[in-house]
């Protein structure tokens, strides 16, 4: 494990599997459980790095697939790495590109070597292998980098999923071999769909490789939220308790509290940012569609219980006006609010864990949000 990366569990909730922890990275510490805003192309869409610091974000996610195509990892490395390129002084995590290759690329040919695909931008041929994914991620220089995995569709046959697990394990060994063990902490990824037996077997294979952290991939790809919750509840506790556990691409506030109860420490999802840009706002009493005519003359804040800059400053009527007239500011203000909602949810969750009342906290979130959130889909992993 990298000397500059360390995880410590600080507190455990006795009634659930939830825990508070701290990730020590070369770019500062990260309190867990943590939500990581998605900054696909080196920017969390519609907000600035000043905004993200003010919101209290401690770690952002970047997408290898997108950044290798534009502006390219060589350019970013030559300018000092992704932190410096995007002027983000705190921690960064990059995904491996695997998920995007399987969901975004125009045509792809998967072999044991890797994935040959066409860029969704210009159709240019690109080869992504475990070795190249690690090389790109080390060039970008994120504090946490992810193994290159095969993410089969949620509708795949068991035989296809099993084949993907064999390949993902083989690729994990190649990623670990290619990894320079420098300042970038490599996390392995467990796949296996909703089949707990397959997940259990893959946890053993992945965790046999000693790594600074482990992730669960292949969730929130179209299945009912309850099925995901049930699977994560069984699988997350199988991951090593002394390593951070990262549930990739998830999810709604309800998904997050359910997974935290199972001991998950890290999350990312485009839901708060993408919903914001579509005018869907998260509040303490559920969701709000800001373009609704009901808000045209509503001088109150989006959420009377919210302390964010937007709720302290602007009315629903003003936000509706901005959204209705397609003003650019609508995107930033809506995004600021939704990200604050998510980051505040995590702050409250950590406080609830520390106070040994996480079960009650989670039940309250479920009651306020409703049992299921808006449908998530494959597209949600790329903002």
């Amino acid at each position: 494990m990298s000397a500059s990366f360390r995880f410590e569990v600080l507190q455990k909730d006795t009634g659930t599997g939830a825990r508070c922890g701290r990730l020590h990275t070369p770019h500062g510490t990260v309190e867990t459980p943590v939500f990581m805003p998605v900054g696909t192309l080196g920017t969390v869409k519609a907000v600035g790095q000043d905004d993200l610091q003010a919101l209290g974000a401690e770690v952002l996610l970047g997408n290898t697939y997108h950044l290798m195509l534009r502006p390219g990892e060589d350019l970013i490395r030559s300018l000092g790495g992704l932190h410096r390129f995007m002027a983000w002084p705190r921690a960064l995590l990059t995904d491996s590109g695997g998920f995007q290759v399987f969901s975004l690329a125009k045509a792809r040919k998967v072999s044991d070597q890797g994935v040959l695909f066409q860029s969704h931008l210009d159709g240019s041929p690109q080869l992504l292998t475990p070795e190249r994914s690690i090389a790109i991620q080390e060039a970008l220089g994120a504090d946490i980098i992810m193994a290159f995995d095969e993410c089969p569709p949620s509708t795949a046959d068991r035989a296809v999923v099993e084949q993907a697990l064999v390949r993902t394990t083989a690729w994990l060994h190649r990623c670990a071999a290619a990894w320079s063990r420098g300042p970038n902490a490599l996390f392995g990824i467990v796949q296996g769909g909703l089949d707990v037996g397959l997940r259990r077997r893959h946890v053993e294979e992945v965790c046999a490789v000693e790594l600074p952290g482990y992730a669960l991939g292949g969730y929130s790809v179209g299945e009912a939220p309850e099925r995901m919750h049930a699977s994560v509840a069984q699988v997350a506790p199988l991951l090593p308790a002394d390593r951070p556990r990262y549930l990739m691409g998830v999810g709604t506030p309800v998904d997050l509290v359910q997974a935290m109860a199972a001991g998950v420490d890290m999350f990312d999802c485009v839901l708060p940012t993408r919903c914001a840009r579509n005018g869907l706002l998260f509040t303490s009493t559920g969701r709000l569609v800001i373009r609704n005519a009901a808000y045209a003359r509503d001088g109150g804040p989006v959420d009377a219980l919210c302390s964010c800059y937007v709720c302290r400053t602007y009315s629903r009527a003003y936000l509706r006006h901005l959204f209705s007239t397609r003003e650019v500011l609508a995107l930033r203000l809506n995004t600021l609010h939704n990200l604050h909602h998510y980051l505040e949810l995590m702050r409250s969750a950590r406080a609830a864990i520390a106070a040994q009342r996480f079960a009650a906290f989670a039940a309250d979130v479920v009651a306020r949000e409703g049992p299921a959130g808006p449908e998530t889909d494959e597209g949600l992993a790329e903002d």
Copy 2:
């Protein structure tokens, strides 16, 4: 004159007609010469009110034509007025809608009564008269409101211009009669194209009406900048020296220093904000097209002499990447930089006036920017 509105001249440059002053408004004082960012629909496109306060903007402009259509002055009044609606605690100025009616509306019929036009949004019929323009502006509640004028095309025959002047004068008297003389200070507008004789005659007619301030309209509508500079140099000094002089819809940095030398105190223009959204950045050494390939690997700031948040934080390479990938953040960062450039230009101009060195300052700006800026046109008055 409104008791809550007061203008004082603080210093005069002896070498030119430039002067420093202070506008006292119900929403704070404004140091002049001042540049007013244009917030057409109750938002300066792509930046927040937090950004504008941080930039040091002391007064913003709103557009009566746009706001009467969306969200409507009744809605804004019912929510406490435009300041409160957009959460802007400092001064506001609204135009009369005249310019937009003549340049934007789909079809219009001008009579002595006013202008009957179709909304550019939905074709709905609308009537704007001097009385209605004042009523809308008082409903919006800006600190400075403008008389409803007829703005003839720059290519109009002298007879057409003369007819417009007669109507504008008649409408000014109706505006002054309709004006409640409350907290909203009414400014008159002088028209007359590039004909100094017509301008001189209209100055006399307009300034015969005792008002808190006077503006020059109908410039920067397609004429060569040098012709505008020459005309403004002759006309601006004819306006009362103890009232603020406002040159509407102008202009480039060179336009601004030329007009300041003639004694103009107030400016607005969409140039910095619109150029920003198109990737054209103002710098101390001229203009920069951020999408140029030359900046792809340029780790330096947009302007090494600029102290704005963008130049302190981000590289040209990052800004080019954001612009090239059409990221929303590009719009905000480019706008922040260009507005800072303009507001800093005004701060430097005020310092130069106070130090009795405005002529040298103006010559320096002209040398750095080049004699003429990018072409301006009628569209520039609506951002």
